[in-house]
């Protein structure tokens, strides 16, 4: 796909120039956003069709995700994402097949080998930290990664991402304080969609902007509009550069919208009004970015159609591939509790190597 090649096209519209990128970059960003959306929509279809029991979605967050993490250097910087980070993971190197394997929880799923729920991405080679469910813990992992980078004198920046509800957890306070004291190469991204499941922002957070908390750590706090992909890009890039200059962490809050229920287990109409939902749809980053690129003459109908075709094929391929992959062998479930196998950690009796087959004490 030449149109999406990040280096192939040196054309630079005023829009691209305004953020120091080329048109090809903008197209590549748009493609990532649209691809993330398409994978996400497919997840819901598969869920409704009974193919995958659980979906947790990034729809509405993709603009912020692609923009904010676009400047990261693949396989060099680090991301500790969260369950909505589909576009982030895609932008940072995971393939549609890899993302779809996580939805199907197949044995070859690189995130967890089918051990974790969908949405719990991870990829060691791409420096994507394994997502767990208890929220906010990952901020400390990213801070520790940044600490190691500093001590080992590696040119790496670590990024942690979570929702605004999660940012109220104690770990966030402890992490920002430590990262700021040591001016660690760390960026904290909060994707504020106004809800923690059903709890609206005003019952979750005592301030309008999570970014207001940055001042309490002596670090910059930046608010960006998550539908403004290029503003997100600029904010992410600036924070990255600041971190690389040794000036310490930045907190970036992106205002986004959650276009779906919290997950496939949630009925958001129970707690959100029709107006609220409509307002959310008006902040869908995908059509906004598409229109922006079209207005700027960067995205032609032809390119858009070609991208759509490519995405369609990619999603189809990823789905077919993941669907066809085998489930994990149940007897691998004992693997990787520790780096080595300890004979004294005995599998259960229904396991081939369980106590039924190993000699157990007594003359039973």
């Amino acid at each position: 796909m030449t149109v999406t090649d990040r280096s192939g096209d040196a054309a630079t519209s005023p829009l691209a120039a305004s953020v120091g990128l080329t048109d090809a970059d903008l197209i590549a960003m748009y493609r990532t956003l649209a691809l993330a959306r398409a994978i996400d929509e497919r997840m819901w279809i598969l869920n409704r069709a009974g193919r995958i029991p659980f979906v947790i979605s990034g729809q509405g967050h993709e603009g912020a995700q692609v923009g904010l993490t676009w400047a990261l250097r693949h396989d060099q910087d680090w991301v500790a994402p969260f369950y909505r980070s589909i576009a982030t993971c895609l932008a940072f190197g995971m393939s549609p097949r890899e993302l779809m394997l996580a939805q199907y929880a197949k044995g070859s799923d690189p995130s967890s080998g089918g051990r974790q729920m969908p949405g719990h991405y991870g990829h060691p080679a791409h420096h994507i930290v394994s997502v767990s469910s208890p929220v906010a813990t990952q901020i400390l992992h990213a801070v520790g990664i940044a600490l190691a980078a500093k001590i080992r004198k590696l040119d790496q920046v670590a990024v942690a991402v979570m929702g605004e509800g999660s940012s109220n957890q104690g770990d966030v306070h402890e992490a920002l304080n430590f990262a700021a004291i040591h001016r660690l190469p760390f960026v904290f991204i909060v994707e504020n969609n106004g809800y923690a499941i059903s709890v609206p922002a005003e019952k979750q957070i005592s301030v309008k902007d999570v970014a207001m908390r940055a001042a309490g750590y002596g670090i910059p706090g930046v608010v960006v509009d998550g539908t403004d992909v290029l503003a997100c890009y600029a904010a992410g890039r600036d924070a990255l550069e600041r971190a690389r200059r040794g000036e310490g962490p930045t907190l970036i809050e992106a205002k986004v919208t959650r276009l779906t229920g919290h997950s496939s287990d949630d009925q958001q109409t129970k707690y959100r009004s029709e107006d609220d939902l409509a307002e959310g749809r008006a902040h869908d980053p995908l059509p906004i970015f598409r229109a922006q690129l079209a207005d700027a003459g960067v995205l032609t109908e032809a390119i858009d159609a070609a991208i759509a075709d490519e995405i369609e094929a990619l999603v189809e391929d990823a789905t077919d591939f993941a669907e066809a992959e085998p489930d994990p062998d149940p007897f691998t479930a004992v693997d990787w509790v520790y780096a080595e196998t300890w004979p004294s950690e005995i599998p259960p009796p229904w396991h081939p190597a369980g106590p039924a087959t190993t000699p157990s004490g007594g003359a039973h």
Binding site: P53, F54, A105, K106, G107, S112, G114, R115, Q116, M117, H120, S132, S133, P134, V135, G165, S166, N168, Q169, G170, D171, A196, I197, S198, V199, K203, Q204, I205, D265, D266, K270, Y271, D327, P328, D329, P330, F331, T332, A333, V334, V337, E345, I346, P347, P348, P349, W350, H351, G362, H364
Partner: protein, 343 residues
């Protein structure tokens, strides 16, 4: 579940029996306690308008309003810590932790604070509160929506731990927990919420804390269980009954304080004891039960005190093949019974 065997003697013959699901019984218990006593409040994530992610508190916000049903921020240590304070100042909070797996951020508040407040103040302060949390696997919840956490808390003097196995008990025990003057952790197996139904009287009743229940009398093997494992043990008992093995099933109901009498009398009668628990085997709650039986019923034992429990891996894996491998079920329990019976 075999309702005929669930030991409803206390209420037999009452006319106002209704069939309720497990979660309805819990919801009713909370609602009735809140109507009875203004000091009872509810707090937790999504417990308000949404009614909880499992709908355990559905309708309560509508009935009791913002002051008594509080949607908290996503901060478990705060939920428990503020409940402790509120309990010290005249309220009886029922805190919901959305999944038992997410109780860990509040571990310090529970273990260092709630459990020790009365002791460290020499009875100057007490903490009458209930912490409800759905636990357990078999629902495609993976590592972080399936955990059994009772062993962490049954080890802590000052805490009480309750795990009901029937709608009747869930409601009656929850009421006792709310009225109790000490912190009670109340764990509910989430797989039972809608799949388990049972008779629940409409009127006022409680089930006392600290008393086990013999769910099925038997002569040859005692199976000790709680929560969902009681239902699986009963099913396993039916299976092996056909083979002539007569199993007694004890439902502990309150894990701490433990009803030693019921436990030990049963094992002294049968001479064989199998402890079934879903949590990881090593250092799980069942280890304490086994140790007590091994020490205090030694002379009566006709076979090794045995355990059948969850494998020692860090969590319940997600893929159904892996999850099925992890979970206990009636077949696995029946196998363990057979092995012990044949000893």
């Amino acid at each position: 579940m075999a309702p005929g065997r669930t030991g409803y003697d206390a209420i037999r013959g009452r006319p106002l029996m209704a069939i309720r699901t497990f979660i309805e019984a819990i919801r009713d218990g909370m609602a009735e306690e809140m109507r009875r006593d203004d000091a009872v409040i509810l707090l937790g994530e999504d417990v308000g308008k949404k009614g909880g992610v499992f709908l355990a508190t559905d309708g309560l916000w509508g009935e009791f309003g913002d002051d008594r049903v509080i949607d908290t921020p996503l901060t478990e240590s705060m939920i428990i810590g503020a409940s402790i304070g509120a309990a010290m100042n005249g309220l009886r909070p029922i805190a919901e932790i959305q999944f038992a797996d997410f109780i860990h951020p509040a571990f310090n508040q529970l273990v260092s604070e709630a459990a020790r407040m009365r002791y460290r103040s020499n009875n100057g302060f007490g903490v009458p509160m209930v912490v409800r949390a759905p636990y357990g696997g078999g629902v495609h919840g993976a590592l972080y929506h399936s955990q059994s956490v009772e062993a962490f808390f049954t080890h802590v003097p000052g805490l009480k731990v309750v795990i009901p196995s029937t709608p009747y008990d869930a409601k009656g025990l929850l009421r006792s927990a709310v009225r109790d003057d000490d912190p009670v952790l109340f764990f509910e197996h989430k797989k039972m919420y809608r799949s388990v139904r049972g008779e629940v009287p409409a009127g006022e009743y409680t089930v006392p804390l600290g008393r086990a229940q013999i769910r099925r009398p038997g002569r040859q093997v005692t199976v000790v269980a709680y929560g969902l494992m009681v239902l699986y043990a009963l099913e396993a008992a039916e299976r092996v009954a056909e083979e002539g093995i007569d199993v007694e099933v004890i439902d502990l109901r309150t894990l701490r304080p433990l009803d030693r009498e019921t436990l030990l009398s049963s094992v002294r009668k049968t001479g064989k004891c199998l402890v079934a628990y879903e949590d990881n085997r090593f250092g799980g709650y069942g280890a304490e039960i086994a140790a007590i039986v091994a020490e205090d019923a030694f002379d009566y034992l006709d076979g090794p005190v045995s355990r059948i429990a969850g494998p020692d891996v860090p969590g319940v894996p997600y893929n159904h093949a892996l999850e099925d491998w992890f979970m206990l079920n009636p077949v696995k329990i029946a196998d363990a019974i057979r092995k012990l019976a044949a000893y």
